[in-house]
Symmetry: C2
Subunit: 270 residues, 2 copies
C-alpha cells in the first residue's frame, strides 16, 4: 500500500493511529476502546469518515494477515491527500492504512523484576489534542531517544510543573497505602489516555478498589508502595527503580499483570 | 514518488520541511536560509543526512519541474522507514521528497488593503523543537480551520500568557513610534522562526533601523502604528484589522512589501 507524499498524515501528522494487540485466536479484547479513541480523535480533528465500518474492515484485514499468530495490527487514519497549506481540503477523502506484525519482544526480566526508569529532561508540554493518539509524536520520539542514550528501560515524562504524567509509550499507576493512583491527564492537558489505562481503571473500580486520579509532585512517588506501567500491547510491567528510588514488585501488581495477560490472550482456545 | 507507509514522517511526523519560492529565472533567493533551517532541524532531531548535497539536488529537480515558471518547491526530509515504536532505527536512511507547484493565489485586496485577522482561541503551546519547521503541525492545522470557520484572512496565535507570537503560516511584525517589533519566539519557546522574518530583520538592521525582539501583551498591539505579516512565499502583507482594532497601511510597510517582491523575483531577467 504505497502512500501519496501529498497525504496530510505525511505533511502535517494530520491523523490518528492505534496499535491493537491480537490474540492467537484472532480476538482483539481492547478493540472497542481503541475504536472509540480513534473515532474521538477523528472527531476532534474534524476528519469526517463517512463509513466507520472501514475501521473494522481494515482491522480484520490486518488480523487475517497475521495468519493465526498472536501479534499487533496498527491502524492509521489521516485526513487524506491535500493541496498545499494547512487548510484541510473539502471534501477530504480520509486515508485508512493497516500494518500487521508480531508481538514486540520484551525481556522476561522486565516482566518479572520490573523496569528501570529515568526522568526525561524535557517536560511534556500541554497539547491541544491531549488524550488522543494523533500523529504528532515528536515529543515521544525525542524522549525515546533519551531513554536509549541513557540506557534506561523507559522514561518518565513530567509536566512543566514537574508532575509525573506518563512514560514514552506507557501509562503510569502507583500503589499508595490505601489507594491506587493514576495521573490526571485531562487536568494536565497533556499525554495519551491509554486504552489499557482505561481498562485497568475500570477493572480496579469493579473490584471495589479505590482509585484516585489527580496530579502530584514527583516527590510523592517516593512514598508509593509500588509503581507499574501499562499499555495495550505489553500489558502491565512493574517499575523497580526511578532515578535513586527503588520499589518492590507488589503482589497486587503481579496479580494485575497476570490477569491482564489472561485478558489479552483472549477467551477462545486455539 | 510513492511513499512507504512505514516512513516515520507518516508515523510520527518525524522530519522537517521547507517551502521555497522560486523565481521565473529559477533563482531561489531565500534558499540559503531555508537550507540552514532544514539542516538545523535535522540536527535537532538527530537525523543524520550523510550527504547534504542531496538537499540541493532535490531542490534543483523541483526547480527543473517548474519549467521556467515562478512557483514553489516543497522539500520534506524524514528519518526514513522505521520499525514499530518511537525509537529511531539505527542506522536510518532519511527520506528526501520534493514537490513543486505554482505560486499560491493571494487576493490583490490582501496585498493592497491588508489582512483581517482574528484571534485564535487555543494558545500556541511551547514546543521542544520550537523554531524549526518540523512535521508536527496539528496546532497550525487546527488554527487554520478556525480561520476558515470564522471567515478571517489569517489568525493570530497567542502564547499561554496571551502574548502575540505569530499567525498560522506567517510571522508578525509591528511598527511602533520609534522602532520595529517582532515577537521573541526563542523566549516563548514556541512558533516557527520564518526565513522571511530573518531576512526582514536583517534588512531592517542593515538600513540602520531599530528592531526590538521581545514578548509583549496583546494589548500593546493597539498602540502600534501598523502591523504586517510575512512569509517566504507571499512576502509582506499588511494587517488592517485584528478583532476590533484597525491600522492603516504604513508607507514604510508598503515600501518593505515592494522591496521584498523585488527580492523574491530574483535579480536575473527572464
Amino acid at each position: 500500500m504505497p502512500l501519496n507524499p501529498r497525504d496530510r498524515g505525511f505533511a502535517y501528522g494530520d491523523g490518528v493511529f492505534e496499535t491493537v494487540r491480537v490474540a492467537a485466536s484472532g480476538e482483539q479484547p481492547l478493540w472497542p476502546r481503541h475504536r472509540a479513541r480513534l473515532v474521538g480523535g477523528l472527531r476532534a480533528l474534524g476528519i469526517a469518515l463517512p463509513d466507520e465500518s472501514r475501521l473494522d474492515a481494515a482491522l480484520n484485514e490486518g488480523v487475517a494477515a497475521l495468519g493465526g499468530e498472536a501479534g499487533v495490527v496498527k491502524l492509521t487514519v489521516t485526513r487524506g491527500v491535500g493541496g498545499r497549506g494547512y487548510l484541510p481540503p473539502v471534501p477530504a477523502q480520509p486515508t485508512v492504512v493497516w500494518q500487521s506484525g508480531g508481538l514486540p519482544v520484551w525481556p522476561e526480566r522486565h516482566r518479572r523484576e520490573g523496569l528501570v526508569l529515568g526522568l526525561c529532561q524535557a517536560p511534556l508540554y500541554p497539547d491541544l489534542l491531549a488524550g488522543f493518539k494523533h500523529l504528532n509524536r515528536l515529543p515521544q520520539v525525542m524522549a525515546r531517544r533519551e531513554v536509549a542514550r541513557q540506557g534506561w528501560d523507559e522514561g518518565l515524562l513530567l509536566s512543566t510543573r514537574r508532575q509525573p504524567l506518563e512514560a514514552t509509550s506507557m501509562n503510569l499507576f502507583a500503589r499508595f497505602a490505601n489507594h491506587w493512583w493514576m495521573p490526571d491527564l485531562d487536568a494536565a492537558g497533556a499525554g495519551v489516555a491509554g486504552v489499557m489505562r482505561a481498562h485497568l481503571h475500570e477493572t480496579l473500580l469493579q473490584r471495589g478498589e479505590k482509585v484516585v486520579c489527580d496530579l502530584r509532585p514527583l516527590s510523592q512517588l517516593r512514598t508509593a508502595d509500588g509503581l507499574f506501567l501499562c499499555n495495550s500491547v505489553v500489558g502491565v510491567l512493574p517499575v523497580r527503580k526511578l532515578a535513586q528510588w527503588h520499589w518492590p514488585v507488589l503482589a497486587s501488581v503481579r496479580e494485575l499483570q497476570q490477569s491482564t495477560e489472561t485478558f489479552l490472550a483472549g477467551s477462545l482456545k486455539v
